[in-house]
């Protein structure tokens, strides 16, 4: 796997969500992702970025275009220094939320994208990495 381009963006306010989403869309369009896959990726990114704002007061997102076996994709890494997640298994369950939301953010995001990885240390922060390939597989 090779990284073709890399960029990062700080998210600190709710107003940063819209420019961030258009940035993700720009990346997805650049590699020729179809509309459905674009929407899936953007929605997943939107979920994670909202989580970051709500629970960790923001963080940094790294946007990358990567290529594996000749297929390109977009990889997004969401890093925050928030309170972290105590029980990741529980957080990945549909309908579980500590913040009175629908509780679909994390499990829903996992279903929307091709690859999903979450690491969290309570008290230190959370890192979520998602990858979506051009063909959506």
């Amino acid at each position: 796997m090779i990284v073709i381009s890399k960029d990062s963006m700080g998210i600190i306010r709710e107003q940063d969500v819209v420019p961030f989403r258009s940035r993700v869309k720009e990346y997805a369009t650049k590699i020729g992702m179809s509309l459905v896959n674009q929407t899936k990726l953007i929605t997943a990114a939107s979920e994670l970025v909202r989580n970051m704002l709500k629970y960790a007061n923001g963080g940094i997102v790294t946007l990358e275009i990567i290529s594996k076996n000749g297929i390109s994709g977009v990889r997004l890494t969401f890093e925050d220094k928030g309170p972290g997640i105590k029980d990741i298994q529980l957080a990945m369950k549909d309908g579980f939320s500590t913040g009175r939301s629908l509780g679909l953010g994390l499990p829903g995001t996992k279903r929307l994208v091709n690859e999903f990885d979450i690491k969290s240390v309570p008290g230190e922060g959370t890192t979520v990495t998602i990858t979506h390939w051009k063909n959506g597989r």
């Binding site: 709710e14 969500v17 819209v18 989403r21 509309l35 459905v36 674009q38 929407t39 899936k40 953007i42 929605t43 939107s46 979920e47 909202r50 549909d94 939301s101 629908l102 679909l104 953010g105 499990p107 829903g108 995001t109 279903r111 929307l112």
Partner: protein, 290 residues
């Protein structure tokens, strides 16, 4: 800064002002389209007076010291006013910086025989004017930010219109991102309008919403429940194919809500619910029958 410097500037005020004005008026970047010469003169006098007053007050003077508060006020007002008129921040900053030359000329005359003091005083005045010109940038940005905030409010106000499409049917086209503040406005407008027009059906059209994530969905569900509490039925229309797939993958349950792909089909459902029939009438055959 020495007292003598402030006095020298005060003494030569008229000369300094004249030179400064001459410099500004002959400058290529003069915007006589945005401000006439009298006004420019008035602003220059205002700034120079405030500067002299600040210089007179203290020997150890920094641009951040309290003595400079009045001059910052004057400069802030000038910057904001210029921002509104369409001046670029560079033009406002060079307004301050162009004062340097004529000030230096006056100081030079005063310290002709003491090159060491001349150097020190020029550096001191220079630093102050630099700091003040940076301040105009900040003030300019602040002025712009106020304009942006006001526009955001205006956009929020006008971007959530409630349209009465038929007797008892309201339509609400939502364009842009649906965040908490926006939802609040949408909900308020909709509920108010339901009461005012005695409507029983509301159509929320989300064709213009770029992405529906779980937060947006939650806001939509809340709006629908509130509408139902008012005794009206709510239909969500404008669900595009890609949005439908995304909602399913996210696992959002919208099965309790009436949804349609287009505003037209939502309107048809609304007509059905109100027992209204829309028919195509062939006028020509009617005339022939008569």
């Amino acid at each position: 800064m020495k007292k003598a410097t402030a006095q020298a500037v005060k003494k030569n005020k008229i000369q300094i002002l004249e030179n400064w004005m001459k410099f500004q008026l002959t400058d290529e970047g003069l915007r006589d389209d945005l401000m006439n010469n009298e006004e420019l003169h008035a602003q220059s006098v205002l700034l120079l007076d405030a500067l002299i007053r600040a210089m007179e007050t203290g020997e150890t003077l920094h641009a951040s010291s309290r003595e400079f508060d009045p001059i910052r006020d004057v400069l802030g007002e000038i910057s904001v006013m210029r921002a509104r008129r369409g001046y670029s921040p560079r033009e406002t900053a060079s307004f301050v910086l162009s004062l340097k030359q004529s000030l230096f000329d006056a100081i030079e005359k005063e310290y002709k025989k003491e090159p060491e003091s001349l150097y020190k005083e020029i550096i001191a005045v220079n630093n102050i004017l630099d700091a003040l010109s940076i301040f105009t940038f900040e003030a300019f940005l602040k002025g712009r930010e106020e304009i942006i905030l006001r526009q955001t409010d205006e956009i929020n106000e006008i971007s959530t219109p409630v349209i009465r499409v038929w007797e008892g049917i309201l339509a609400l086209p939502i364009i842009g991102t649906l965040d908490s503040a926006r939802t609040q406005i949408v909900m308020e407008n909709l509920l108010q309008e339901i009461v005012a027009t005695n409507s029983s059906i509301a159509i929320l059209d989300i064709s213009g919403v770029p992405a529906v994530d779980s937060l947006v969905a939650q806001h939509l569900i809340k709006t629908v429940s509130a509408t139902r509490l008012m005794g009206a039925e709510c239909i969500i229309s404008g669900i595009r194919a890609e949005i439908a797939q995304t909602i399913v993958h996210l696992g959002i349950d919208l099965s309790n809500i009436k949804t349609k792909a287009s505003l037209a089909s939502a309107l048809r459902v609304a007509f059905d619910m109100m027992n209204v029939e829309v028919k195509k009438v062939d006028r020509r055959s009617n005339i022939l029958l008569k």
